[in-house]
Amino acid sequence: MKEFAPLLHGYWYLLRGAGMTLLMAGAAILPATACGILLAMAQVFGNRFARSAVVGYLFIVRGIPLLVLLTFTYYLLPLTGIDLPPFWGVVLVMALYYAAFMSEVFRAGILSLPQGQWDAARSLGMTRRLMLQIVIFPQALRLASPPFVSLCANLVKATSLVSIVGLWELTMASREIVERTLAPFQIFLGAAAIYFCICYTLALYGRYLESRVLHGH
């Protein structure tokens, strides 16, 4: 047990880091979800121009590592003259990045509804807007919720990358303690345990949602 003494000294600092991680993830998830839904709608219902714009966006985001985008935002922001605090800079980049993956999830949810649902809604005289609002979205969001939750867990893990560009959160906090205590194994394991608690909780919640989707109401 003596080997884990450094962890006992640093745990409060680590938990504060975890708080920052959650704050960052939460701040990114909201706009990512909103943009994801918009992108999905543009891809499913948009005209040719909108569709190809979305496809291009997805191609670029899916093909470039998040770390590259974060690093260069960090270097480029000061050059562009936009006065954005680094925290909001990385939140913006993470939101735009994850919006692409969220849009795939929502699009799959919309497209996996059987044709009969559209037919029934149209035959009842619903306009497109009403149809989306009361028939399509409630079901599509429900179908999309399990993969959405696991994407959120992914996003929480991905926040660790911002430590590389110098922002302070759980991973950065653990590196600072390691520099003081020279006990990397224990401290990083402790940080991993905290990440695990957050992400595994989300994973369990996602599994619960999935069982609800599979078995109906």
Binding site: F59, I60, V68, Y75, R175, F185, Y195, Y200, A203
Partner: protein, 217 residues
């Protein structure tokens, strides 16, 4: 000055040198994970403690950040007396994490083949070996190719994180060049384009493989 041709002429060979490390890491990781993930998935499908360990492994590695896993391997192991090089640590961490994802892909593929297929094979009098090689495995392979392609793309992007443990991959090369020059735009564009090419190659290879399978069936 963006688009400085003299600068670009020096930049490109350096980036390509880094890209070689990136590609090497990605291919090694993917190859090792194909085997390691299968072992984990098979262990997971047994009954008893082995399956419990495999399941726990998958959950733990999937719910903690790759970066933390790299730190544990790179800093933790060296503290414990058996230090690994940055490249080896990065490769090990990439395999540990992605092995968990690949195992889940195998598991999904195995589950997707319905028990009726096994019954049908047995009803035709097939021996175990014939049943698996003729009936089951071809169907599993057809199902796992698309998610495996996605995983290969994701591995390629993940390799960028080894830059955090001083491996001279493309990401690290880019960081060095950005810090030693003012041509952030050029470096960013170069890195982004090369990553896009690499991930596109993986994506196209997956599609071709998929198409060949479709013809074979």
């Amino acid at each position: 000055m963006p688009f400085d041709l003299h600068f670009i002429a020096r930049l490109i060979p350096a980036l390509i040198e880094g890209a070689e490390v990136t590609v090497e890491l990605a291919i090694l990781t993917f190859a090792i994970c194909l085997v390691w993930g299968l072992i984990v998935a098979l262990a997971n499908s047994t009954r008893g403690p082995l399956s419990w360990f495999a399941g726990a492994y998958v959950q733990i590695v999937r719910n903690t950040p790759l970066l933390i896993q790299m730190y544990i391997v790179y800093f933790g192991f060296s503290m414990a007396g058996f230090g690994l090089s940055g490249f080896a640590s990065g490769l090990l961490a990439l395999c540990i994490q992605n092995g968990g994802y690949v195992a889940e892909i195998y598991r999904g593929g195995l589950q997707a083949v319905s028990t009726r297929q096994y019954e049908a094979g047995r009803a035709l009098g097939m021996r175990r070996w014939t049943l698996y090689t003729v009936v089951i495995i071809p169907q599993v392979v057809a199902r796992i190719v698309p998610p495996m392609t996605n995983q290969a793309i994701s591995i390629t992007k993940d390799t960028s994180q080894v830059a955090a443990i001083a491996v001279m991959d493309m990401m690290k090369v880019a960081q060095v060049w950005v810090e030693s020059s003012a041509n952030t735009y050029d470096v960013f564009l170069g890195v982004a384009i090369i990553y896009l090419v690499l991930t596109s190659v993986a994506s196209v290879a997956g599609k071709l493989f998929e198409r060949r399978l479709a013809f074979a069936q």
